[in-house]
Every structure is written in structure tokens, then in C-alpha cells.
């Protein structure tokens, strides 16, 4: 589904990713861990199409298309979704309205009819229930005045409505309380399917108890240093990142 090859990315002349390789197949769940500032958010932003990153070499192929040639909205239409580490507040833009616009833009692009307003609201309510998002959040401005945890929950709610093929969750677990973590993880698990892939960026092994990954990667110094299964996360928790670098 996603093939990142020898990716080099700089920001303001500073090299962040230095030849990163990553292959993700449909049906898989990947976890990416790594020290602060390693470039995890950079990778997810580059996949989602954010400006301001200089891609000096390498390629990203998504479902046989050159992802780097696509605009952020085209990527969204093709099924790429990023749950942001720091979701931005957008006063004046209604949460439900944003989703409706997003869903319909995608449908239009796929040559489908717009969703009937009633059907759309049914879906929205159902998905809000899935992540136990209070319905009052539906009519509020996007993330405005939401607590840190509420913003994260709202990201997963949006993911549930938009039904992406490739979901990148950038530290969605950070800032969630214990119950919220369980609920959000439950929501993510319900979205697992053989034709979808999930990439979770996280600092905590705890999340992986709820959402079991097929692969765990360690990103440090701009490349994937090590790849393993769930047990790698346990080892990391015990030994820290220096251990990875020493035991490549």
C-alpha cells in the first residue's frame, strides 16, 4: 500500500530524514517509536502532504501512485488520513460541517453522489458513539476550546467518519486518560480490516497492549534503526533508545 524509499527530508536546510525506508501492506498495523525530535512527525506530515518540507531525494508510492505528486486533498481523497499530534483549532468552522465537506469532496472525486444529509448525520452519530464523543462536540467549532484529550478523541472520530485506507496516528495516545485510551483504541481496532493499514506513532508501549501491532519500528537519526514485533517495544521500554543504536 505504502512504499517509502530512501527518503531524505530537510527543514530550513536541516536534515531530518536521511534515507528512510518503510513498507506498509494492507491489513497491517505498524508502530513507530523513537526519541523526541527524531523525525516521526516529519515523516507523517510529509506523507500527508504538508508544505515546508524539502524532499531532497527518495520516493513515496501509495497504491501505485507517486504520492509526492499529489496535493494534500488528493491524498485525502485517495484514503490517506493523518491524526495530528497537535490538532489545530479552527474557530468558526463547524466540526460536522468540516466532515461533511470532506466526505462529499471525496465522494465527488470518486464520481459518487453526495451523501444525503440525513444519512450523513446517522453515520456521524454512530461514529461519535464509537469513540464515545459527546454529541455536543459535533456542533462546535473544530477543536476550539477542546481539551488536549478531547482533541485527540476528535481526530479518531474524524478518522472513523472519513474511513481512510491508510491512517497515520501521530501520538494520538499522548494526553489521553486511561479510560479514553481504552475507548480510542477500541475505536481504532474496529477500523482494522484486511484492506486498511494503520501506522501509530507513540512513545508508550501501553498503547500496543490495546492495539496490537504487526511491526514495531524504531526511528532515530533520520532512519529506521530497527524493526521487530511487539516484543521490541517491551525491550525499548526496558533499555531505552541508546540500546537500539548499540544493538543495530
Amino acid at each position: 500500500m505504502l512504499e517509502v524509499k530512501d527518503l531524505h527530508v530537510s527543514v530550513d536546510g536541516k536534515k531530518i530524514l536521511k534515507g528512510l525506508n518503510l513498507t506498509i501492506n494492507a491489513g497491517e498495523v505498524h508502530a513507530i517509536m523513537g526519541p523526541n525530535g527524531a523525525g516521526k512527525s516529519t515523516l507523517s506530515n510529509v506523507i500527508a502532504g504538508r508544505d515546508g518540507y524539502e524532499i531532497t531525494s527518495g520516493s513515496i508510492t501509495y497504491k501505485n501512485d507517486d504520492l509526492l505528486e499529489m496535493s494534500p486533498e488528493e491524498r485525502a481523497w485517495a484514503g490517506v488520513f493523518l491524526a495530528f499530534q497537535y490538532p489545530v483549532e479552527i474557530p468558526g468552522v463547524n466540526n460536522t460541517y468540516l466532515l461533511k465537506a470532506g466526505v462529499n469532496a471525496k465522494r465527488k472525486h470518486q464520481g459518487l453522489e453526495e451523501l444525503d444529509a440525513f444519512d450523513f448525520m446517522q453515520t456521524v452519530k454512530e461514529k461519535a458513539k464509537l469513540v464515545e464523543l459527546d454529541p455536543s462536540f459535533l456542533s462546535r467549532s473544530v477543536n476550539e476550546g477542546f481539551s488536549g484529550g478531547e482533541k485527540k478523541r476528535n481526530e479518531i472520530f474524524q478518522m472513523a467518519v472519513l474511513e481512510p485506507s491508510l491512517a497515520l496516528l501521530d501520538e494520538t495516545d499522548s494526553g489521553l486518560d486511561i479510560d479514553a485510551l481504552r475507548i480510542v483504541a477500541g475505536g481504532v481496532n474496529k477500523l482494522r480490516s484486511p484492506d486498511k493499514a494503520i501506522v501509530m506513532i507513540t512513545h508508550y508501549q501501553r498503547l500496543l497492549d490495546y492495539i496490537e501491532p504487526d511491526f514495531v519500528h524504531v526511528l532515530a537519526d533520520g532512519v529506521i534503526q530497527k524493526t521487530g514485533d511487539k516484543s521490541l517495544a517491551v525491550e525499548l521500554e526496558k533499555h531505552g533508545y541508546d540500546w537500539v543504536k548499540e544493538n543495530k
Binding site: 504538508r50 494534500p72 486533498e73 479552527i90 468558526g92 468540516l98 466532515l99 465537506a101 469532496a105 472519513l162
Partner: protein
């Protein structure tokens, strides 16, 4: 000479003394009023205006219509038991002691801030206006919608006197027909007694050859509250002086302004809030969205007087320039003469936020629609404070129509 005639004559003398403001006046630095000189004279009613279906439709309100500055009684619908009168009628029928009271309605307070020649001219030559006297404890059960329609120069002068504990909502709407070059010169005087409340909207939507000069002067007694919504969508040139005197302890005002301009439009609001008593609150939010070669001017001055302790004042002005030829001059000013106050003010001029744009696009909204959506949301935030949803959605639609918008966005907002 009767006291009324004398008062009018005094105003005319004052006008002759003051003349029209020039750009050498600090308060008129950015607005050239000289071209309005020949448009001052009010022209009587033109019977050719067809007013059916004009203005805000579907509004459940009492209604007062002014055509070229004259009250059109036949088009109006006024509540019973509330004193809502025509200034011209009052003037015509005034005798003896009455006349003195009515003369007061034409008196120019030369000590008030931002007084200018237009204001003096208004007092001298006003054709008509609404005089509203709401008794203590009275509640106007429906909003009063004052629709001004013009195709000629007009001079209009309103007085809104709201009694103790009384409440009202007044919407002034200005539209024009035809494409005459004409000037509307409008003054509204607001007096709020103790614990009175008024929500006051002014929606200026005149034609693109028209000019509009306005003064809104508010005096607030103890614990009264005043909410203002000033919307500038129309006219080639418009200027409003909004002067609020927080005179009684615990009074509060909430001033909201929105300009959506394009082409060569020019709009200027000078606002002045005087905190004269303790424990008063003022909040001001002004936003402009400027396209084409349009020019916006915002000057917001808050003056906290000695003794006005526990003043709480917050002013914010945001501006978005959609074209590189659009221009904004903004100046929030704060003068404080005591220590015990909480004041914040600031202005921003900018393009849209990159992070917000990316967020919307990452959810599948096209770059173009995302920009338009954020622009609309930016403007719409000023309108959130508007409690009347019919008026708000009317203004939203009118503002939206003036903003660049693709079919995509129209579809999205429409459905």
C-alpha cells in the same frame, strides 16, 4: 425665532464654522471627505422607489421605513403602547414647552469626542428620524427594524431612549436603489437608563456609488448594557464614528464590527469608549476582509478616566487582505488614567493560517474551498455575537456573496 428654529440655526452656524473634515485632521487622515461636499443637501422623497420585498425578509419585527430620509408611515408597522415617533412630525407639531424638549434632539454636543461638520450639518438639516422612548421596565417584544431606502442624498437623525430596566433590539438597515451618487448622513443617539439593555445593529448595504457618513453616540447609565453590530458591506465610501460613554457604574458595552469590502470601496470606523465610572466593561471585536483595491480604516480608542477603577476593557481587531492592492490602516489606542484596570488590545493584519489550511485540506477540502471557508469563518466570528438569527443569516449570506467563493464552497454551505 422659536427655540427650535434657533437650535437648528445654531447647528448650521456650527457647521459653517467647522466645515467638512479634511485629511489634515488626525481623525480623518485616511478618509477623504472633500468629495462629499456637493452631496450634502438632502433631496425630498422620490415616489418612484418600489419598496415591496426590500430589506430583510422573514424577520418577525416591528418596522419603520424611511425613504430618502422621510418616514413612510404606510410602509411601517409599529407596536401599540410604545412611544415611537417621527422626528419631523414632532417638530411640526411642537408648541410651547414641548418645543424645548424637542429642540434638545437637535442640539450638538460640541464637547463629545469625534464631533465633525457632518454631525453639525445633520442637526441643522435632518429631514426626519425615529424618536423612540421606551418607558421604565418596558420590553419591546419584537425587534424594531428600521429600513432606510434611498436614491438621493438624505439626512436622518434617530434618538433611542431606553428607560430603566427596559429592553429593546433595534436594527438599522441601509439600502439604496438606482445608481445615483448620493450621501446618507445618519446620526443615532442612544441613551440607556439604569439597567437598560439595547442590542443595536447597523447594516450598511448601500449601492457602490453611494457614500455614507454616520455617528452613533451612546450614553450609558448604571449597569446598562449595550451591544452594537456594525456591518459595512456597501457604499463607495463610508465612515462611522461610534462614541460610547460608560457613564454609570457597572455599565457594559460590546461593540462588534465587520467590513467586507471589494473593488474600490473605502470604509472607516472610528470608535471611542470612555470609561468614566468604576466597574465598567467594554469589549470590542472588529474584523475586516478586504479584496480588490479596497481600503479599511479602524481606529479604536479606549480612554479610562481617573476614578474608573476596576475597568475591564478588551479590544481586538483582525484584518485579512485578500489582494495585494487592498489596504488596512488600524490603530487601537489605549489611554489609562488609573492603576486598577484590566485592559488588553491588539490588532493583526494577515493572511490565512497555514496550519488551519493544511488541516482542512488533509480532510479532503480543496485548497481553494479551504481558503474561502477560513475567510468566511473569520468574518462570521464577528456575527456570532448577533443574537437575532434571522438578521445574522441575512448578513452572513450578504457577506458570503461578497467574498470570493467557488461552487464547491457554495454547495458545502448551502447544503
Amino acid at each position: 425665532m422659536s427655540v427650535l428654529t434657533q437650535t437648528r440655526q445654531d447647528a448650521l452656524n456650527l457647521f459653517e464654522k467647522l466645515g467638512l473634515p479634511t485629511q489634515r485632521d488626525e481623525d480623518w487622515k485616511y478618509t477623504d471627505a472633500s468629495r462629499l461636499k456637493d452631496l450634502l443637501e438632502p433631496t425630498p422623497v422620490d415616489e418612484n422607489i418600489h419598496i415591496k420585498d426590500m430589506g430583510i425578509t422573514g424577520l418577525d419585527a416591528y418596522r419603520m421605513v424611511f425613504i430618502n430620509g422621510l418616514f413612510a408611515e404606510a410602509e411601517s408597522n409599529l407596536p401599540e403602547g410604545v412611544s415611537i415617533l417621527s422626528l419631523a412630525e414632532l417638530e411640526k407639531n411642537s408648541v410651547g414647552d414641548d418645543a424645548e424638549g424637542i429642540a434638545k434632539l437637535f442640539t450638538v454636543d460640541t464637547q463629545a469626542p469625534l464631533i465633525n461638520g457632518f454631525n453639525a450639518y445633520n442637526a441643522a438639516k435632518a429631514s426626519d428620524g425615529a424618536v423612540i422612548i421606551l418607558a421604565d421596565h418596558a420590553i419591546l417584544t419584537k425587534p424594531l427594524y428600521i429600513l432606510h431606502i434611498s436614491n438621493q442624498s438624505n439626512v436622518i437623525r434617530h434618538s433611542f431612549m431606553i428607560g430603566q430596566h427596559a429592553q429593546a433590539e433595534i436594527i438599522e438597515h441601509f439600502i439604496s436603489t438606482g445608481d445615483n451618487k448620493a450621501l446618507s448622513n445618519s446620526c443615532s443617539f442612544v441613551a440607556l437608563k439604569a439597567e437598560a439593555h439595547l442590542e443595536h445593529s447597523r447594516i450598511q448595504q448601500e449601492g457602490d456609488k453611494q457614500s455614507h457618513v454616520a455617528r452613533v453616540q451612546v450614553k450609558q447609565c448604571k449597569k446598562s448594557s449595550y451591544t452594537f453590530h456594525g456591518v459595512e458591506l456597501g457604499a463607495a465610501l463610508s465612515r462611522t464614528d461610534l462614541v460610547v460613554n460608560l457613564h454609570g457604574e457597572g455599565a457594559s458595552c460590546d461593540l462588534n464590527g465587520l467590513f467586507v469590502l471589494g473593488g474600490r470601496q473605502h470604509a472607516d470606523h472610528h470608535t471611542r469608549i470612555d470609561h468614566k465610572a468604576p466597574h465598567c466593561t467594554s469589549r470590542e471585536l472588529y474584523r475586516t476582509v478586504l479584496d480588490g483595491r479596497s481600503h479599511g480604516v479602524f481606529n479604536g480608542k479606549v480612554l479610562v478616566h481617573e476614578g474608573a477603577i476596576k475597568t475591564d476593557s478588551n479590544m481586538s481587531n483582525g484584518n485579512i487582505l485578500l489582494s495585494k492592492n487592498a489596504e488596512i490602516d488600524t490603530k487601537p489606542e489605549l489611554e489609562i488614567y488609573n492603576d486598577d484596570v484590566k485592559c488588553a488590545h491588539g490588532a493583526t493584519i494577515g493572511q490565512l493560517d497555514d496550519k488551519q489550511l493544511f488541516y482542512l485540506r488533509s480532510r479532503g477540502i480543496s485548497a481553494e474551498a479551504a481558503q474561502e471557508l477560513l475567510t468566511f469563518a473569520f468574518a462570521d466570528e464577528v456575527l456570532v455575537a448577533m443574537r437575532n438569527q434571522t438578521v445574522r443569516s441575512y448578513v452572513e449570506k450578504a457577506a458570503f456573496a461578497k467574498l470570493p467563493h467557488s461552487d464547491d464552497l457554495e454547495e458545502m454551505l448551502g447544503s
